[in-house]
Symmetry: C2
Subunit: 376 residues, 2 copies
């Protein structure tokens, strides 16, 4: 199988991810932070070491990194935990349903109003589009690092500066950016970063995190046992306990730590360069295919995530994907849970075929794909 | 290590759980329900087969079983999704913080009022204690299958009948019961069952589920991409999609399926009998130790989960646990995230030392523990 669905989950995982997972299943599958016996204590230390890795990568404090089942859960915790009745929220015009459905729910419940700020290929224009929508009661801006459909990158640092200037909480959805594009919570003025562990960070499925700036106040979405302050009828005030009720996915978390080790040993920049080169190869090949309509600009460093969206002939995207699947090439078709983005790029009627290469995608695989499509 | 902390998470896992996990990490780590390529389709089928296993065990429809990170998340989804402003909720007097903190949060937000119904060793009395608290606006009863501290079992079937009679939604926390004590959603009149996958069901940490009776309406706690009805700004109305936003923990879910296979091949009743026999051996030994104060009744089938709570000399429970840890015996001390239960059993001051054997605990291990304690 030639796998271009890394935007859904990365495959394959690095070898050390699998080996660390198996080791964790055998040796770190004990409840951390609850037991006083050696296996529990060692497990807690190991889990903490992954908080440190994430904190180091994105510039948070380790104790302010909490683990979730996926990025979606983290975004729900971040957004729903940040707003109060009467607030106004701004999201980008390319947000995933993990953001759009959340703000819609809050709007339907009469808690917030929200507006969408248009993406522009001109960074300053994008920032201006956010700025124009700011109201006195705007409390939160939510923006993705990169579009999961079109690969375009948002000027997170500039939007963060805008949010900071207006004292607005800035929540970043790192689903397609965290792990390849540099994200620095301090210099980018990010209050909360949400990310999956199983995409660009190469951990197993079932992992994600929410990382919050020191001092951030957050209402809880999920309450329960934390192994701390047990007589307190409320969630503890301190992180990560406030955001981690119940048992964690230890082996998943440890796999995520191994994924970060892999990135650091190979070099994040080197991985990004490789993925971008492969994406560029796909872009160039598709550009030369007269039956292809491409929806992305030519990949450019720090402006693009390794994601390409296209359609083939007048086929529905699902038909193209099915034909490729028959030829053992795995792509995803449809709306990619992002109707907003398709509305913006005018592709809502038939969706797009999406190609997401990874660190393991080879030039040879791209060639085979391009030749296969040419013959279709 | 002699491991008596199976109430936190079961260890070791059956051999087939590990082998199925590793297989799943390599072969089923694709996004199910989104892709049309073979690996994605096969993954979706495999995930569905686990829904079927859970549905078969507890008598739900497979499509009404949704996967979560843990039982706590499931309980939050069940309780918060069931109530509206002005509702009254009844919980038992032994509930875990995964329930107590949830209803407290809802109370603090001015949404609900709640009362706690006292546990009694007389089943009819327990049911009466719930019945006495019913008000015209009581919309939900939440009760655990078994206490995670004292092992006592609730008469779920009788409480379910009471709830059904009064048209009250019945939510069961199966954290310490699901997998050993028979739970039948149909005959027990359970509307929603929440359970972890990594305790009595022998799956990996990071797994749990919420199973709902056909036709149950539930507001969503977590919104996001479902791969279905993508243009819908709200979560889909149908299960499991309504309750599953974002990427699932595939290998964890498949490990849970393997855990159920293990239970069914060995026999749930046989496992329960073994665990109860081991618990009885512990109970008898502890009864003869004059330095031990025991808080549980003698284990009895269908009246007890394999859980024992005690204290040793006048030591804080943590001291006893630390001394046992030095001797390579893993137990848990403190409040076990259940201050309500300790208040009820009058052990809030120093908590308890908890012993939870599993299917893999041997009589020999119990003997070693009893002898070790005797010498302490």
């Amino acid at each position: 199988m030639i796998y271009f669905d890394n935007g859904a989950t990365s495959y394959p995982k690095p070898q050390n991810v699998l080996s660390n997972t198996v080791y964790a299943l055998k040796n770190y599958s004990f409840n951390s932070g609850r037991g006083g016996y050696a296996a529990s204590v060692h497990t807690a230390e190991k889990i903490y070491s992954v908080r440190e890795k994430i904190a180091g990568m994105f510039h948070f404090e380790p104790q302010n990194v909490a683990f979730t089942m996926n990025c979606t859960q983290a975004l729900n915790m971040a957004i729903k935990g940040s707003v109060k009745k009467g607030d106004h929220v701004i999201i980008s015009s390319l947000e995933h349903n993990a953001v759009w459905r959340v703000v819609n729910h809050l709007k339907n419940d009469g808690i917030i109003q929200f507006d969408t700020a248009d993406f522009s290929f001109d960074e300053e224009e994008t920032v201006l589009n956010f700025e124009r929508l700011i109201r006195p009661n705007t409390s939160v801006i939510v923006c993705m690092a990169a579009s999961n459909v079109f690969g375009v990158v948002f000027p997170i640092s500039k939007i963060g500066a805008l949010a900071a200037k207006h004292n607005i909480r800035f929540i970043v959805d790192g689903a397609q950016g965290a792990g390849i594009i540099p994200i620095n919570a301090v210099t980018d003025n990010i209050d909360i970063l949400c990310a999956p562990g199983h995409k660009c960070l190469f951990g197993n499925m079932g992992t994600g995190f929410i990382a919050v700036k020191e001092g951030t106040r957050l209402n809880t979405l999920i309450d329960g046992g934390t192994g701390s302050e047990s007589v307190n009828p409320d969630q503890p005030d301190f992180f990560p306990d406030r955001l981690e009720a119940g048992t964690l996915n230890n082996s998943g978390i440890i796999s995520l730590g191994a994924g970060i080790d892999f990135i650091q040993s190979r070099g994040m920049d080197k991985i990004y360069n490789h993925e971008l080169a492969v994406t560029d190869c796909l872009f160039n090949g598709l550009s030369k295919n007269e039956n292809v309509e491409l929806y992305c600009p030519k990949p450019e460093k720090f402006k693009s995530a390794p994601i390409i969206s296209f359609n083939f002939r007048d086929y529905p995207s699902e038909k193209t994907a099915a034909m490729l699947a028959e030829r053992n090439i795995a792509v995803r078709a449809g709306l990619h849970c992002s109707p907003l983005a398709h509305t913006f790029f005018n592709t809502l009627d038939r969706g797009t075929v999406r190609l997401c290469p990874s660190a393991f995608t080879t030039g040879k695989e791209c060639e085979i794909f391009l030749k296969t499509l040419k013959k279709m």
